[in-house]
């Protein structure tokens, strides 16, 4: 398979995603929209009562925004996009028509990943750009983030969204069902990921929760719901790699082995 073919196949996956206007609009709301709301509401609060409400910008606000964009609303955007990329061909019944071109099934699966990542990270970067601008623009005397903090925050948020997106592509390809994948991932991210760290008898097993591993790598404040759990960097990176690779392997295996 040539580079041109890979580029065109990724481009085709991007086209399928871009044309899903409802999903893209919702994902944009969960990222760009939420950032606008977060800083907008805080700016209004500060303007209306500066004594009770601190400035909307500053390093702390950027830190909060990265949390919102990674494990809260931003993760929902990554789930929507990753699941759509993973299930689109199967759910529409087109997968069989792609298989009969003779192209390897693994290639058909593999190109979904960069396409989903491009859309997810484009929205993440747009919302981060807004967040950074707001952190400086609305600082109003509060300490502003350093360049290294901005870079680390951008890298961490993009990394967190990329992980969730990759897991969603893998799970979507594994189940072939948009509904099952969305329910499972949103349930995991919104409920299970917050409850499990609170169950103390699970001990160090809780390090295997992606949000705990992501939290260990986060610049600035610790993640909420982490319950003091802080695996080492090596463990955190290993957990993230295992989650990403395991779901990619599951999705790839199912795509290659199942009847089309």
């Amino acid at each position: 398979m040539t580079v041109v073919t890979v580029r065109q196949m990724v481009g085709a996956e991007l086209l399928k995603l871009r044309r899903r206007r409802g999903i893209i609009a919702l994902a944009a709301f969960f990222t760009v929209g939420i950032v606008l709301l977060y800083f907008g509401v805080r700016a209004i609060e500060h303007a209306s009562n500066p004594a009770a409400n601190g400035p909307a910008g500053g390093v702390r606000s950027l830190d909060h925004a990265t949390v919102v964009l990674s494990v809260f609303f931003g993760s929902l955007a990554a789930i929507l996009i990753g699941t759509e990329a993973g299930t689109s061909d199967l759910a529409s019944g087109v997968f069989g028509d792609l298989v009969v071109t003779g192209r390897s099934r693994l290639a058909l699966f593999a190109v979904r990943v960069p396409a989903a990542l491009i859309v997810t990270l484009a929205l993440a970067l747009a919302s981060l750009a807004l967040s950074v601008a707001a952190a400086y623009g609305f600082a109003d005397g509060m300490p502003t983030p350093s360049a290294s903090f901005v870079i680390n925050s951008v890298l961490w948020t993009c990394g967190a969204q990329a992980l969730i997106c990759v897991v969603a592509v893998g799970l979507g390809s594994f189940t072939g069902s948009r509904a099952i994948s969305l329910t499972a991932l949103i349930g995991w991210q919104v409920i299970a990921s917050r409850l499990l760290p609170q169950i103390s008898f699970l001990g160090h097993l809780r390090y295997a929760i992606p949000n705990i591993a992501l939290g260990a790598l986060k610049p600035g404040l610790t993640l909420p719901d982490a319950n003091g759990l802080a695996p080492g960097v090596g463990v955190a990176l290993a957990v993230i790699a295992v989650w990403a690779l395991a779901w990619l392997a599951a999705g790839g295996w199912r795509t290659v082995s199942s009847d089309a």
């Binding site: 040539t2 041109v4 073919t5 065109q8 196949m9 481009g11 085709a12 086209l15 399928k16 044309r19 899903r20 689109s88 529409s92 019944g93 087109v94 069989g96 028509d97 792609l98 298989v99 009969v100 071109t101 003779g102 192209r103 390897s104 058909l108 009847d259 089309a260």
Partner: protein, 308 residues
């Protein structure tokens, strides 16, 4: 032999649990013809096609497409094969042209140049930039053919392509099949519509209960196992008397305005004519009866059911 055949299977078998869906199917489809693959619903047609295209694995047997072994050389074999399996499916949120672009991207860079021609060929140029969600069933079928044409196919495998089409659409589809064959392509047409296969195809195989029960040219398949003539004359009663005395006449049946005569051999028609004319009976019509494919199909499959 292999070069002459564009599609071959030997003892192709597929099981679903204890049920044998395709039972040692051996097929040989020559290049440059329209080949019908006939069978009742559930006879094993689609499963056979799915194995050929790598959509499901075979449990036994061998296959070649374009002389290449499948699945060993699947990518190369399918590079110039277009297929519609069951109904053509699309991303309905994309336009017709965008759907073709997504397939062209998978097939390879050279395929993009064929999109315009393929759309024109199926008469969809004017509607190519509309979302497929707005397409009728007939338009989707045509877009499915356009998608097949992106491969510049030597072989088109069409599974029940006329499902859901109105009579005008069926006629148009049949003409398209013949035009594709005229270009030197091979069309493998799976259908349960016997009339459709008889009109569109040069040869056919009949599958029943997962097994090939007959294969050959349409003319061969429709040839009756016995010879039958239709006779019209000015004195049917005397003709019946005369014919009853002839040992080569097995049976004479009165039908409205004609007699149907079953013979031991169709070549005996001239002898019948001579005998009647010498007896001063004016013969106004004497012609052999050809079964339709439908009659032969029902005869073959009902015979098999009786044996079972």
């Amino acid at each position: 032999m292999a070069d002459h055949m564009i599609l071959e299977t030997h003892d192709l078998t597929k099981r679903f649990g204890d049920r044998v869906a395709v039972d040692r199917v051996s097929l040989a489809v020559p290049r440059g013809c329209a080949f019908g693959f006939l069978g009742h619903n559930g006879a094993g047609k689609t499963t056979t096609i799915r194995m050929l295209l790598g959509l499901t694995r075979a449990d036994g047997g061998t296959m070649t497409l374009r002389g290449l072994p499948v699945p060993a050389a699947r990518a190369q074999a399918l590079a110039r094969v277009g297929a519609i399996v069951e109904e053509p499916r699309f991303h309905t949120h994309l336009t017709g042209r965008e759907n073709l672009r997504t397939v062209a991207a998978v097939r390879g860079p050279e395929t993009f140049a064929r999109i315009g021609g393929a759309l024109a060929r199926v008469g969809l140029t004017d509607r190519a930039d509309e979302r497929v969600a707005r397409y009728s069933q007939g338009m989707r079928q045509r877009l499915g053919v356009a998608r097949c044409l992106l491969a510049d196919p030597e072989l088109l495998i069409l599974d029940e392509p006329t499902n859901g089409l109105d009579p005008a659409g069926i006629l148009e589809f049949r003409q398209m099949i013949r035009a594709l064959v005229a270009e030197g392509r091979t069309v493998f047409l799976s259908s349960h519509l016997l009339d459709e296969v008889e009109k569109a195809c040069d040869a056919a195989a009949i599958i029943d209960g997962g097994r090939i029960v007959r294969a050959g040219a349409i003319a061969e398949l429709t040839r009756s196992s016995h010879a039958e003539l239709v006779l019209a004359c000015d004195d049917p009663d005397r003709a019946i008397e005369l014919l009853a005395q002839m040992p080569e006449v097995l049976h004479v049946q009165c039908a409205p305005e004609v007699l149907r005569i079953r013979l031991t051999d169709a070549a005996l028609a001239s002898r019948i004519n001579r005998r009647l004319v010498l007896a001063d009976i004016a013969v106004s019509r004497l012609e052999p009866v050809h079964d339709t494919l439908e009659q032969r199909f029902l005869e073959i499959t009902s015979r098999l059911e009786a044996v079972a």
